[in-house]
């Protein structure tokens, strides 16, 4: 292919690379050591999600369903921390359930980073663990919670958990929050379409365009996209956390990437002209 790509500037490219790696290292590290508080406009989709959750009366029950793999968890974790803090601050009961095997452990470690405001396990919130089968499991849970779930993540029979007493089916929830790195359609079919339960999506950034039509059609009441959405939610509940740090780092990182791609072309063209 192009001669200039590898051959004459090989040594130069190696030297360049180290400087670039260092620049990226610094760009990502600075905000971690000292958060910059770069401007962060709050998008409509996140604001809608926040406003819906904020308007829930106290004593409401919320289902937090999870389907995010280990590798993508960091993208939704800040948002999850923010929403859990928000829910706990409003004395709303939270039931957590996972459609993937890793999520129960991930959410446990996330919960250690949430200020629980004295809320009690089993009374105010519960982690029901993992249920295999995706849409089949969703449908079974929505229809008959006690039919599918016998024990929580720790093996406690759910009859012994006060929170589960009034929760028999999907109808008993006021809101479904779906943390997802996969398609939202099955959850919409099983909860929104079948039982009319409102739903908010916390998703990885890659899914935003696919979920947009559901938002405009009103099938989901709000959407919190990835790290950026998580940071926006942190701002809305006025508790800047790791989301804000990460978005600062992302902003710097992206500026660097864009500058590098332009700079790379400028240098390449000037060398090309120089060689003629």
């Amino acid at each position: 292919m192009d001669e200039t790509k590898n051959k004459p500037s090989e040594k130069m490219a190696k030297l360049d690379a180290r400087i670039i790696y260092l620049a990226m290292f610094i760009a990502l590290l600075i905000p971690i050591l000292r958060p910059l508080g770069l401007p962060l406009p709050i998008s409509d989709m996140t604001r809608k999600a926040y406003e819906y959750v904020d308007s829930l009366p106290s004593g409401s029950k919320v289902l937090l369903a999870l389907h995010v793999s280990v590798g993508l968890w960091p993208e939704v974790e800040p948002g999850t921390i923010a929403i859990l803090s928000h829910l706990f601050s409003k004395s709303i009961k939270v039931v957590i359930i996972s459609w993937g095997a890793d999520e129960p452990v991930l959410v446990e470690s996330t919960l250690t980073k949430v200020d629980k405001m004295g809320k009690q396990y089993g009374v105010d919130w519960v982690n029901l663990g993992y249920y295999a089968g995706m849409e089949t499991a969703m449908a079974a849970f929505a229809k008959d919670v006690h039919g599918l779930v016998k024990r929580d993540f720790y093996g406690t029979p759910i009859e012994n958990l006060p929170i589960m007493k009034d929760i028999k089916s999907a109808k008993d929830f006021n809101l479904v929050i779906y943390d997802t790195a996969s398609d939202i359609a099955p959850m919409i079919r099983q909860f929104v379409a079948a039982y009319g339960i409102p739903m908010v999506a916390f998703c990885t950034i890659g899914w935003v365009p696919s979920f947009m039509p559901y938002l405009t059609a009103g099938q989901i009441v709000g959407m919190v996209p990835g790290i950026r959405g998580g940071a926006e939610y942190e701002l809305l509940i006025k508790r800047p956390g790791s989301g804000a740090t990460t978005t600062d780092a992302l902003s710097l990182g992206f500026i660097l990437l864009i500058v590098l791609s332009i700079l790379g072309n400028v240098i390449w063209y000037s060398r090309k002209i120089g060689m003629r």
Binding site: M1, K5, N6, E10, A13, K14, A17, G71
Partner: protein, 260 residues
């Protein structure tokens, strides 16, 4: 015999594609061969191996990180076919070749592909067991292992063909830093293609990966089957054209037909 619900149309689509492939294979058997457009990435393999030889470097081949028993199976087999061809070139030119393997069940296939190539070139005595290297069944094991090999064994041609996941970017960049000519391709996991498309010198997209072995073999029967695959593409284009016209006319029986 009872059809499963919702799979009838899919079954007939498969029958049409397979039927077309068989028809063109039979046509090839009686000597009617279709001409195949050139795939630059495949022509470049010879150039890449040649340059590695000139520079006294070696050739690294990674047939993906997929195994055999899942949908990634055919992609792995496609990689093995090209490995066989690359090994032939290496045997001919006396260039060192290393195949990096992740899934253990792929080891026999890779060994068979390389040793057969060396035997066919009449250089079986130059075949060494360490040409096939298992680098653990972990995605990052093969990544770190291959990155190490790229620098230590002066890899000047890096060919990656098969199923790849998150490690694709690491492999492609490490190969570029090592100064290798890179030819890469992957199919089912399309999200990894941007790295290959932007970083590597040549990139094979989707279907090109699967036909690579057939094109390189120059075997008329295998080439014939590619014409059969093209029938599938014409079928898709027709269905989309008719379907979108029906959508505009607000008729939905084609969709219902495809869903039976």
């Amino acid at each position: 015999m009872v059809f499963k619900e919702g799979r009838i149309a899919t079954f007939f689509a498969l029958v049409i594609v397979v039927g077309a492939i068989l028809y063109f294979i039979n046509r090839a058997k009686i000597g009617k061969i279709s001409k195949i457009r050139k795939i630059p990435g495949l022509i470049a393999i010879e150039e890449a191996v040649g340059r590695a030889t000139e520079m006294g470097g070696s050739v690294l081949f990674i047939p993906g990180i997929g195994g055999l028993t899942t949908v990634e199976g055919p992609e792995t087999l496609a990689g093995i076919s090209v490995l066989n061809y690359t090994a032939k070139l290496c045997a001919r030119l006396g260039t060192k070749i290393v195949a990096a393997i992740r899934m253990p069940e792929v080891i026999p296939l890779a060994e068979e592909a390389i040793s057969t190539a060396f035997r066919m070139e009449g250089k079986f005595e130059e075949y060494r067991p360490d040409m096939v290297r298992y680098l653990s069944s972990d995605q990052w094991g093969i990544a770190t292992g291959a990155m190490g090999i790229m620098q230590r064994e002066r890899v000047k041609a890096n060919i990656m063909l098969g199923f790849f996941a998150g490690e694709a970017l690491a492999l492609a960049e490490a190969g570029a830093v090592a100064g290798a000519i890179q030819i890469a391709g992957t199919a089912t996991n399309t999200t990894q293609l941007p790295w290959f498309a932007s970083i590597c010198d040549y990139c094979l997209f989707g279907e090109e990966v699967y036909v690579a072995g057939a094109v390189l073999s120059e075997d008329p029967i295998q080439l014939g089957s590619i014409a059969g695959q093209d029938v599938g593409k014409f079928m898709a284009i027709c269905l989309i054209t008719i379907g979108i016209l029906m959508y505009l006319l607000k008729v939905d029986w084609l969709i219902r037909l495809l869903k039976i």
